[in-house]
Symmetry: none
Subunit: 224 residues, 2 copies
DNA sequence: GATTTCCGTTAAGCTGGCTGTCAGCTTGGC
DNA sequence: GCCAAGCTGACAGCCAGCTTAACGGAAATC
């Protein structure tokens, strides 16, 4: 397994590097986010270990950027014990796991094994919905075999429907998903995004349940 | 998403149950491992929340048994802060994640979302009424396997009957359900909606009890 | 640092269909 | 056959939702 470690603490970094090597994996270690950007651009990794406090920015930003770019490499974030909100933010931003500093090196190994096990046995399943093909893990949609590019918000919405085929999702529920916990939104943002999704994916993909919400259209809930 | 919670602490258990419900998932809560065994044998879950210290044994044993049996349902274990060795053992035994007690409920939600994102949710139980299939949670009805679209009002009415199979509901009662407290309706609105429902769902679905009200027809609640 | 492109949000006008009402008809009880 | 209760087709008003256009901020490129 190929691991990228992003950590500016040299003591911790060296320890992690040693542990991972002795577990039989290869590892690249960088201490800055811009270094990290370069590495992910030029090489492919099976796992990224990400510290959230770095000299040139917050790790969360890096993570969000990767996810927005469609990168699904598993990311484990490393945070201090008291940074609860960071952990939550990290998970919502697409992290797969976190480690609380200071952590035991055997725990790191266990996590590593869990991740490699999870993704080894999971070739991405393709979901077919009418004329659409979806790969949730890879953030990929194609319409009639032709790939469609969705923006971040569009994907979050679309994913919600694909994960719950046949189920009606209310606008409130979708809003919550887009904006996590905060903020009441008093506009038709959801409607606009739905409209754009329909434009890209086909008019029939999302059915309106007036006064209730939306759901995946024909073919989507066919299982029922 | 369907969750099985295995936790003997009633305070924590109740809190978790509430949180998960308010996130829109369904949850079964047991306090003992043998109860848990029964549940996983008779139902399928999308996620198991597992306390490691239980009155009739260690949760680890349960987890190992499930994995040995080939069950890949995601499991999140819940441990006290100082039980580091338990966490490691848990991860190595096949747990997907862990939560450190005491944990924030928002963190629980974030974890839940991460899991449900990873594993697409599974549909809810279907209720069969004659030639109809109903999924209350998904607001879904099909007649002879063909999905039927109900409007908001129609659904509210229909739901009332499905929730009380065999029971006769008076027009007053139904009116109350549609319009809460306000407004006297001086027309035959209910009758009209009933008529529309019958047109969509079949004539026999709703029986008229002249002078009394309506009730679900054959197959609905005949048993009880 | 300037410029350009992209994306999410907001606002406004429009539309389709839901919903309540009524009138005329049917059904069931006596 | 008569009456009351219930059924249903038609219709119009209105509102939820759709769409388009424009704005502002962020990121990317130079």
């Amino acid at each position: 397994m190929r691991v990228l470690l992003i950590e500016d603490d040299t003591v911790l970094g060296a320890a992690v590097q040693d542990q991972i090597r002795s577990d039989g994996h290869s590892i690249d270690w960088v201490t800055r986010l811009d270094d990290a950007e370069e590495h992910v651009a030029s090489a492919s990794y099976d796992l990224i270990l990400l510290d959230l406090m770095l000299p040139d920015g917050r790790g969360i930003v890096f993570l969000k950027k990767r996810r927005a770019a469609g990168d699904v490499t598993p990311v484990i974030i490393m945070t201090a014990l008291d940074q609860l909100s960071d952990r939550i933010e990290g998970l919502n931003a697409g992290a797969d796991d976190y480690l609380v500093k200071p952590f035991d090196l055997t725990e790191l190994s266990a996590r590593l094994n869990a991740v490699s096990r999870r993704y080894a046995g999971n070739p991405n399943p393709l979901i077919t919905i009418g004329e659409l093909e979806v790969d949730l893990a890879a953030r990929y949609v194609a319409r009639n075999g032709r790939p469609v590019t969705l923006t971040a918000r569009e994907w979050v919405l679309f994913e919600a429907f694909v994960q719950r085929p046949g189920q009606v999702l209310s606008k409130d529920r979708l809003e919550e998903r887009l904006y996590s916990f905060d903020s009441e939104i008093e506009s038709n943002t959801i409607e606009v995004h739905i409209s754009r999704l329909r434009k890209k994916l086909g008019r029939e993909v999302l059915e309106t349940q007036r006064g209730v919400g939306y759901r995946l259209g024909s073919g989507g809930g066919g299982g029922k």
